[in-house]
């Protein structure tokens, strides 16, 4: 077989006329004696002929030389040699120049690095804008900030800045995605609960407005994903809470006591405006937090001038169009994997410690100077108020067209009370109480009959037991009706304040209906 393959290989070369004379004689003799080889030779011949015939016809290439000469004449081919050396030459020249310069001025690089640091700080410092214009802070936001220590960073309220204290009492701030939506009417509820009159409400609003401007100048954001926080904001938070509480105690003392338990109410000096205390000691050093770094730097900011400018701009914009997207700075801090890298960078930093969690990032201030001042700590009351405001529900009486009545008042009714919020449900409730009572009596009667039937001897005993049950239930019913009456009485008193006669008539009818039901 091996010989055969060797022979066939020779056959192929024989066909090509590439054998030495000796080999040629050898193979020709072999062919003569072997039919197989003859057949194979024929096969190879045919194959060679069809291969040769298959040679493709190639059309002529016009302008081949012209094209070639054009490409050869381009600067590329002639200057290629020079080009090859250009990078090496440039590099050598630059290196030599650098060596020369450094020999004259050895501190150049360190100076340069310092300058770069400054440039980075400047980069992030530029375009910083007070939060008021970025997030459009409302009085509600300020009130919530006092209670929950959280400030929205953008108008959509999707990211918040939370200020807090860790276990060791050190301040930290947190930027997080706002997942749980806070009650939106906390301030309204609070004001309603205190039952403030119009001028008092205006005072409250102006108080919050002042704080809003003050607070927004303590938190600056930029479109470069930087956020600058004045350490004094922790104090401001305490102050705004203290001022709100002191105002509440001053103007709505009785109602205030209803919200906060008497033993919780601190002795607040009504004449102190806490804001004044904080104002004087605002430091110029801001903590600037970016996805690349955290540093503290002095920030000279002419807020008065900026406020004026921004007011002008916002007024112009209001006039020009009433589009909602008039806010130019939309701040959105990127909470992504790059922050994890930042935690490693900050490990050696004495001033800051950072923790990244799934929902946001926490920056703990280690050795930052937060001016210490004597501010009352009302955080426990804040909790009580936030609990209480959650349990308030505003019920607007005079349902269809309230705007017609200028002196409409809001009624605040405690959720926990047995008295239900809506008039409709009150009717249902009384019916159901009576109905249920009747059913019980009926069932008891049946029971009594069956007991009688089964056991006559104990009949009297059972009867007295059932009677006492009915009495008890009736007492319960009476108690509820009594309570209902009291509520109605209060309701009527409230209604007397309303000037709208038509409405009063309506309500009196309702009350009459209720009383009739009670009598039934």
């Amino acid at each position: 077989m091996k010989n055969n393959r060797y022979d066939i290989e020779m056959l192929s070369a024989y066909l090509d006329g590439e054998l030495s004379p000796k080999e040629k004689i050898y193979i020709e003799e072999k062919i003569k004696s072997s039919l197989d080889l003859q057949r194979k030779l024929d096969e190879l011949k045919r194959l060679k002929s069809i291969t040769s015939e298959a040679k493709p016809e190639l059309s002529e290439s016009y302008y081949f030389e012209t094209r070639l000469m054009a490409s050869l004449n381009t600067a590329e081919s002639k200057t290629e040699k020079i080009k090859k050396w250009i990078p090496a030459f440039t590099f050598t020249t630059l290196a030599a120049a650098l060596i020369f310069v450094l020999s004259i001025n050895p501190t150049l690089i360190s100076n340069f690095l310092e300058q770069q640091k400054g440039n980075i700080a400047d980069f992030y410092k530029s375009n910083l804008k007070p939060l008021l214009y970025a997030a459009n802070l409302t009085n509600e936001d300020i009130f919530n900030f006092a209670l929950y220590e959280e400030l929205p960073l953008d108008p959509s309220n999707s990211q918040t800045l939370k200020l807090s204290y860790d276990q060791t009492g050190k301040e930290f701030f947190e930027i997080k995605q706002n997942s749980n939506t806070k009650e939106q009417n906390n301030l309204k509820n609070f004001v309603a609960a205190l039952d403030l009159n119009e001028s008092e409400q205006k005072q409250m609003d102006s108080l919050l407005k002042v704080y809003s401007e003050k607070i927004s100048s303590q938190v600056l954001v930029s479109d470069k994903n930087a956020i600058a926080i004045n350490p004094n904001i922790w104090n401001l938070r305490k102050a705004v809470l203290a001022d709100i509480l002191s105002f509440a105690k001053k103007h709505g003392n009785e109602n205030f006591q209803k919200i906060v338990k008497i033993n919780q109410i601190p002795s607040i000096d009504k004449n102190i405006v806490w804001l004044e205390k904080v104002k004087n000691e605002s430091p110029k050093d801001f903590i600037i937090f970016t996805p690349d770094t955290v540093f503290s730097t002095e920030l000279d900011y002419d807020f008065a001038e900026l406020n004026n400018e921004m007011k002008k701009v916002s007024e112009e914009m209001k006039q020009a169009s009433k589009e909602q997207n008039s806010q130019k700075v939309i701040f959105k801090f990127k909470l992504d994997s790059t922050l994890v890298g930042l935690t490693d960078k900050l490990k050696s930093d004495k001033n800051f410690k950072m923790f990244v969690h799934s929902n946001g990032v926490q920056v703990h201030l280690q050795e930052m100077n937060i001016p210490e001042m004597e501010l009352p700590n009302f955080d426990s009351i804040a909790v009580a108020i936030s609990e209480a405001t959650k349990n308030f529900t505003l019920v607007r009486v005079g349902s269809p067209e309230l705007p017609e009545i200028p002196e409409t008042k809001n009624f605040v009714i405690r959720k926990e009370s047995n008295f239900n919020n809506s008039i409709k449900s009150r009717e249902v409730n009384i019916d159901s109480v009576i109905e249920e009572n009747n059913k019980r009596i009926e069932i008891n009667n049946k029971k009594r009959q069956s007991v009688k039937f089964n056991n006559d001897s104990s009949a009297n005993e059972v009867k007295s037991m059932v009677d006492s049950l009915i009495i008890k239930q009736n007492e319960e019913l009476r108690r509820q009706i009594e309570q209902l009456r009291r509520e109605i009485e209060k309701f009527r008193q409230d209604l007397q304040n309303l000037n709208n006669r038509q409405k009063i008539q309506e309500y009196e009818e309702i009350i009459k209906l209720l009383e009739e039901q009670i009598e039934i």
């Binding site: 290989e9 070369a13 090509d16």
Partner: protein, 198 residues
């Protein structure tokens, strides 16, 4: 023999006529750019043919041929007159083709899989099959190592010696590869034996 003549050439390049390859090259080295044009004109078709046969891709022939002559132009001053100009030229040509194939294979790795492989048998479906086309297609399926010596021999009429010099390998290797190429080609064309060999 051919090779003996060549040796003489190598030792003492004879200027037989004024426009043989060597004298043209010498004139080029002396600064006559027109002699290069003559060289190009003389050999371009052979070069283009080799490229076509080696790659079986008509679209790239001229670009590669241009590239070949640019390389020749840049290196002609260093030509040592030790072998025929054509041997040197064809070696450059085949090397350029190999470069192209290498790059193409790399590109293939990074490009999505396509059904490039045409089934030879599918030619039978065609009512009027072009036998030449079928054979060319079959040849194109051979691996480069076998295909290039075969086409240089059977289509371009190169001697084994010339092929060995062009491909920079031994004559024995050329002989064996051409034989293996024919065996492989026969296998590929086996299903069409009747149509092809009647």
């Amino acid at each position: 023999m051919n090779s003996d003549n060549k040796k003489e050439d190598m030792e003492q390049p004879k200027i037989l006529t004024l426009d043989d390859d060597f004298s043209l090259i010498k004139r080029f080295i002396d600064g006559d750019d027109d002699s290069f044009k003559t060289l190009v004109n003389r050999h371009k078709e052979k070069v283009r043919n080799i490229i076509y046969l080696t790659l079986m891709e008509p679209d790239v022939i001229d670009d590669i041929a241009q590239d070949v002559f640019i390389t020749v132009f840049k290196n002609l001053k260093h030509f040592r007159f030790e072998s025929q100009f054509t041997t040197w030229l064809y070696r450059i040509t085949v090397n350029k083709c190999k470069d192209y194939l290498r790059k193409k294979n790399v590109r293939k790795i990074f490009s999505p899989i396509k059904d490039e492989e045409e089934d030879i048998a599918s030619f039978r479906i065609n009512e009027d099959p072009d036998i030449k086309e079928i054979v060319r297609s079959a040849i194109s399926k051979l691996p480069d190592k076998l295909r290039i010596p075969l086409v240089l021999r059977d289509m371009e009429g190169f001697s084994y010696q010339e092929i060995a010099e062009t491909l920079n390998c031994e004559i024995g290797t050329v002989k064996s590869r051409i034989f293996r190429a024919r065996e492989a080609l026969k296998k590929i064309l086996e299903p069409l034996e009747k149509e092809l060999f009647v």
